[in-house]
Symmetry: C2
Subunit: 329 residues, 2 copies
């Protein structure tokens, strides 16, 4: 590993890396950290042949499983189910249909079937959760949704770790975001999950402004409300394409109009984004977070098999949560 860094960024940097350990204080002194710090030094040093001007320093991070916990359930799915439950509790009429009925009756068997359907490619029940949530959130303004999501992430605790969801970010990754921002990278978060869900806390937990958060979301509509105020409200239709797989570089192109030189993900849905960064004409770095720490988080390769395999041939840096991070949360 050290040989290849030496080759890529120039061997004089290896020495510099030794004295700059404080930049990523939550990372162990492993080749992974050297690769990241060596890369950042190379592209930010005007005397290095690999120097990249500030305006082109774009970094994109996946969110679920890359910046925050995604097991046992995506936080957003938990939020949607809660919202369905709130509507079912206040409106008996919706309880005759799914998924309102299942949530209201806490019908675990129905949810197990939905989960089993996902793995068998039978998405009907899973899609009904999305559709039910869209219905439960329909007509909500941007500000209302923002408060609702922030409230959920602030006040709902994870069952295993017993702290609010918004504290379950991977602190070494948050430190990496700040390190890049301090080196004049424009950092974007780009997730298959809900854009506005993440935006509700992105400024607080990642120091990343709302407009730098890209993601999938519902379409909006414009309307004048009963108090004659102009509002932008949620519809029930999902915006296309969703921000996953090939949708990631498409959303990145649309939003930024620049190709990232740095990209970080953790699953097969991030492959296209990592490829897109790798195809930059300048020196780029791809990072893949590997969930291999069952004690402190979870250990799973499921959904990341292809990404892990491609990491080798593509030179993506694989981060071992177990070996590379001093702490996780």
């Amino acid at each position: 590993m050290e040989n290849s860094i030496c080759e890529i960024v120039g061997c004089q940097y290896l020495e510099m890396i030794m004295i700059s350990g404080d930049n990523l204080s939550l990372w162990n002194d492993t080749p992974t950290k050297s690769a990241i710090v060596g890369y950042v030094h190379a592209v930010t040093d005007p005397n290095n042949a690999k120097f990249v001007p500030e305006v082109e320093r774009v970094a994109t991070f996946d969110n679920d499983g890359t910046l925050w916990l995604e097991k046992p359930l995506y936080m957003q799915l938990h939020h949607l189910i809660r919202q369905i439950g709130l509507v079912a509790a206040s409106n008996p009429a919706v309880r005759i249909k799914q998924p309102f009925k299942a949530v209201y009756e806490n019908d675990q068997a129905w949810f197990k079937e939905a989960a089993a359907g996902v793995s068998k490619g039978d998405l009907a029940k899973a899609m009904s959760i999305i559709a039910g949530a869209a219905e439960a959130l329909e007509g909500m303004t941007i500000d209302e949704f923002n408060s609702n999501a922030r409230d959920f992430l602030t006040n709902t605790k994870d069952a295993r770790f017993n702290v609010p969801y918004k504290q379950l970010t991977y602190k070494p990754m948050v430190e990496l975001i700040h390190y890049l921002q301090n080196n004049e990278f424009a950092v974007y978060i780009t997730s298959g999950g809900g854009r506005d869900f993440m935006r509700s806390v992105s400024e607080e937990i990642y120091s990343t402004p709302r407009q730098n958060v890209i993601g999938s979301d519902i379409e909006y509509a414009y309307e004048i409300d009963t108090r004659s105020r102009a509002q932008v409200v949620r519809t029930v239709k999902v915006e296309q394409p969703i921000d996953n797989e090939s949708g990631k570089p498409i959303h990145i192109g649309r939003t930024i109009s620049r190709r990232p030189i740095f990209a970080a993900g953790n699953s097969d849905g991030d492959i296209e984004m990592l490829q897109y960064a790798k195809s930059h004409t300048g020196l780029s770095l791809g990072v893949l977070v590997h969930h291999d720490d069952a004690d402190r988080e979870y250990a799973y390769d499921e959904g990341a098999e292809e990404a892990l395999e491609r990491a080798v041939g593509n030179g993506w840096v694989v981060v071992s949560m177990k070996n590379d991070w001093k702490q996780i949360f």
Copy 2:
């Protein structure tokens, strides 16, 4: 006019405005300028009851006719026609169909019919220009389109003013953008016209980063090119909704997740954006640029009749290009 500013922002500001004239040096000392400067002072002074924190200071500007020339033809339409001509010149096969035939043969009668159709609501020919342009640009990467558009705006001269298009921005409006940026406003440009067309020069001519430019555009696709590089390329399908009328607040909501407190436009397509800003719970300002200077630019109310009428009831500040601006280009 001065009474109402006094009422809104506090009379102590009128005095301050007198000594801060340099902020908008290309603007005459009229009530229009006082209204704008008085507004900015009010929302940026922590001791003023109308103070708005930096993070909420969002300003949105329409582009065509608000920041740069839109007559006699939208610059972008000129660009699309040029692109159709380039394809027609190099590929005889396309010349059998419209609009390639008309552009190649410089068939002015065909274009006149297309223009006449627009005013009669018969959009078939006009739409064929858009479709032809989409075909002419299909498969182009984001970077290629960016270079192509920048080249056009840099090297194509306007027939009347005999300078390159990118110089035909309204300098008092560019000064206003900088004034707001200096007062910690996040400035966005939001146009019915092409997002990536404007982005090709936005950093140079408006000091506004690409990602702060919102607009209509074509959908993108992801592909691996013949040299195995990952690319994001243009398709022929127009992204919905286009960024005009109710599409403007929708695009603003999607991109920023915050409601603007300052919005500037010049036509009926900007009404919903101006309404959206006006419905901010904090003090907001709407600005409407009125084209009333046939000598130095153009004089026309066409397409802005309703906006001009609503300006009165809504308290939008109407900018007279003739009386309020010392210079235009």
